[in-house]
Amino acid sequence: MIYLYIIGVDMAQPRVFCLVLLTVALGAQALTPSHHLSLSDVDRLKGLLSQPFTDLASAYYSIVGLSKLGASVADENDACQFLKAQLDPMSVDSLFFAAEASQAIADCEMPVFNETRDILLAAVSEDSTVTQIFRAVSALSSLGLPLASQEVVAALVARIAKEDNVLAITTALQTATRLSQQAELGGILEEIEDLAARLDDLGGVYLQFEEGLEATALFVTAAYTLSDHADTEPPLKEDQVIQLVNSVFSKKSWDSRSEAFSVACAAAALSSNRFHVPVIVSTQGPATVSHSQPILHLLVTDILSNPLASANLLVESAQAVASKSVVLSQAPFSLRNGIFELNFMASQPASGYYQFTVAVTGDSRLVANQVELKVKVSTEVAVTNMDLSVVDKDQSIGTKTSRVDYPFKAKGSFTADSHQNFAMNFQLVDANTGVELTPHQTFVRFHNQKTGQEVVFVAEPDSKNLYKFELDTAERKSEFDSMSGTYVLHLIVGDATLENPILWNVADVVLKFLDEEAPAAIQSKTLYMPKPDIQHLFREPEKKPPTVVSNTFTALVLSPFLLLLILWFKLGANISNFSLSPSSVLFHVGHACMLGLMYVYWTHLNMFQTLKYLAIIGSLTFLAGNRMLAQKAVKRLASK
C-alpha cells in the first residue's frame, strides 16, 4: 500500500525514502509501485539516448531505444547514412546493430549481400554463444531473410544448458521472440519461471538480479515480449511485477547508453504488453482539499507517465483517520482533461486526515490498481468568546472580565500582582462549519519588551472544548525570573490542518512580583557567551621541612655509627686475623662491589640491570666467600 504523506504546503513528488520505509514498515497486502518514470525522467532518458553516436552499437541503442519511447533521433536520414557507412557485412554483430536500427527508422533499408545470409545462418549453431545466435536470428528476421526456427530452438536449448547465467538465458528468451509462433517455444518459455526464481528479494520492495539493473531490465523486456509473442501469460505474480518495476525504475540517471536502452525497453514492454500493465496513481500537487479548493485531482498513468486510455477511478472508501468513520464509499471520479476529479468537500468532511482507498478499473491487465492515499482536509479557525479577567485569589473582590474580539487588542492593560490570577477563556471553532476544534498548538506567550524575556504556556481545553488559561502570579514567578513589568500577551494557534494559523496580540499584562531578587542582567543572554577561562593549577609540591632540620637529623642518624666504632674498639674487635689469601681478598672486594652496586642502583640503574650485575658479582663473591669461610672453618676446628 502506498501512503503519500502530504504534510504542509510543499512536496509535489512523494519522498522515496519515506515511502520505502513506510511500505516496508507497514507490510504489503497489495504492493503498489514506489518508483516510476515521471515525465522529466522520460525526458532525461530520451536526452541520454539522443546523444550523438560514434559507432554502430551506440547507434543501435539510441535509435531503437528512442523508438521504444515513442521518439526518434534528430536526423533520421543522417542516421540511416551512418548505419550504411559503418556496416561491415562480414560481421554478425555489425549486421545485427545495423539491421535492427534500420528497422526503427522509416524508409531505411540495409543492403543485403549473398554472403550475408550464409554468414548469419552459420552463426546459428550450437558452437556459437547465445549472444551470437540472438544477433544472427534478429538480423535475419529484420533483413527479411528466411530462417529455420526449429534449428534455432535446438541450438538455443543446447546453449542454455552450457551457458547457465542470467544474461545468456535472457538473450535466449529474446531470440525466441523472433522465431515463428509454430516453433516449439514451450521449453524456452519455462525458462522465464526459472529465471524469476533467481531474482533477489530486497526487503519485499525490490526484486532484481545481482548482475544489476541492466540484467533485470532486459529480463523484464524479454519475458513480456516473449509472453506476448507466444500468447501465454508470464508466470509472474502481481507483487513480483511491482517489485520489478521498483527495481528497474528506481535509478533516475543512467551510467551508459546500454543501461538507458535496457530501461527504455523495459518501460515500453511494461506499458504496452497484453498481460500486466502496472498503473500509477498520483496526486497533482499536495493531496489537500479545503473550502476554497474542494476538488481532489488525481492522475492515473502507466509507468512512462502516459495517461491510461481506458481507465475509471473509483473511491472504494474514505475513512477519517482520527475517528475511523467512513465518510465516502463507492464514489466515482469524473474525468476532465485527462485528470480525475472528485469534489470531496461535498461530503462535508470535518477537518483532519482521511485514508482513501481508490481502485482503477476498466482494463483487465492493470496491476496494482488498488491504491491507498492520505488526503488532508484543511479548514480555517476562528477564535470566539475571548474573555480576559483578573481574578482575586481569595475571591473577595469580583472579577473584572473583558471580552476581546479577534483581531483587535484589548483596550486597557490588565494588572495582576501576587494576590491575583490572570485568566483567559476562549473557544476555537471551524470558521466554515462552526464545529469546535482542538488544534495541536495553542500557546499563550508573554513577552517583556524591555528585558526581552519570553515565557510561553500551553492553553488546554476542558471536556467541553473550552480553552482556559490561568496564570498564578506567585506560583509562576520563577519562570518570569520575578521581573515585574509590562508583558505583551500573544495567542498562538497552529495545526497542520489549519490554513490560517493565528498570532494575535491580545492584550498587555502588567505583572507585579513580590521579591525583586532578579539579577539586572538576564540569564539567557549569557547562556551562549563564552564561559570564563579555567586556569590549570599544577600540583603544588608537598611542603618540605627546612633544610636545617633535615641536615640535623641526617647527622643525628649517622652518629650511632661512630658509637658503634667506639664500642667495637672498646671490646677489642680487630682485623688481626685477616688472612691475605686470594679468596678472602676477592671476597671482600666482591662484597664491596656489591655494596657499591647498591649505591649505583640507587642513582642510575633499574632493577633489571642491577640484578644482572648482582648476579655476576654475587656469584664471584659467593665462590670466593665459600672458599674463605671454608678455610676459616678448617682453621677454627684445627685450633679447637
Binding site: K544, V557, L564, L567, L571, G572, L614, G625, L629
Partner: protein, 113 residues
C-alpha cells in the same frame, strides 16, 4: 618494688659483662647501633612528618630487617645454642647473614626512591 627492678637490672648487667663472649658482644654492639639508627629515624618521622614516606619506610625497614638478621646471626653463633643448630656452622650462619642482607639491601634501595 623499684628496688627489685634495679637489682634485677644490675644483676643482668653483671652477668652480661662477665658471661658473654667477646664475639657476641661485638654483635650486640652492632645490634645496639642498628636500634639507635632506627629509633632516630622514627623520631624524625614523628617530629617532622612522613614526607617522603617511601624513603622513611625504606630506612626504617632497613633498620628493622638488619636488626632481625643480626639477632638471627647472634642466635646461630651462640655456642650455648649449638644443640639447636647442629647442621649450621658459624661460617654458614655468617654466609646466610650476608645473603639475606643482600636481598634486604636490594629491596630497600629499590624502595628508597
Amino acid at each position: 618494688m623499684s628496688n627489685s627492678v634495679i637489682s634485677v637490672i644490675s644483676r643482668f648487667l653483671e652477668e652480661y659483662t662477665t658471661k658473654t663472649s667477646n664475639k657476641l658482644k661485638v654483635v650486640d654492639a652492632y645490634l645496639f647501633y642498628i636500634l639507635l639508627t632506627g629509633a632516630l629515624q622514627f623520631l624524625y618521622c614523628l617530629l617532622v612528618g612522613t614526607f617522603p614516606f617511601n624513603s622513611f619506610l625504606a630506612g626504617f625497614i632497613s633498620c628493622v630487617g638488619a636488626f632481625i638478621l643480626g639477632v638471627c646471626l647472634r642466635i646461630q653463633i651462640n655456642p650455648d645454642n649449638k644443640g639447636d643448630f647442629l647442621t649450621i656452622s658459624q661460617e654458614r650462619a655468617f654466609a646466610d647473614f650476608l645473603l639475606a642482607h643482600t636481598v634486604l639491601h636490594l629491596v630497600v634501595i629499590n624502595f628508597i626512591g
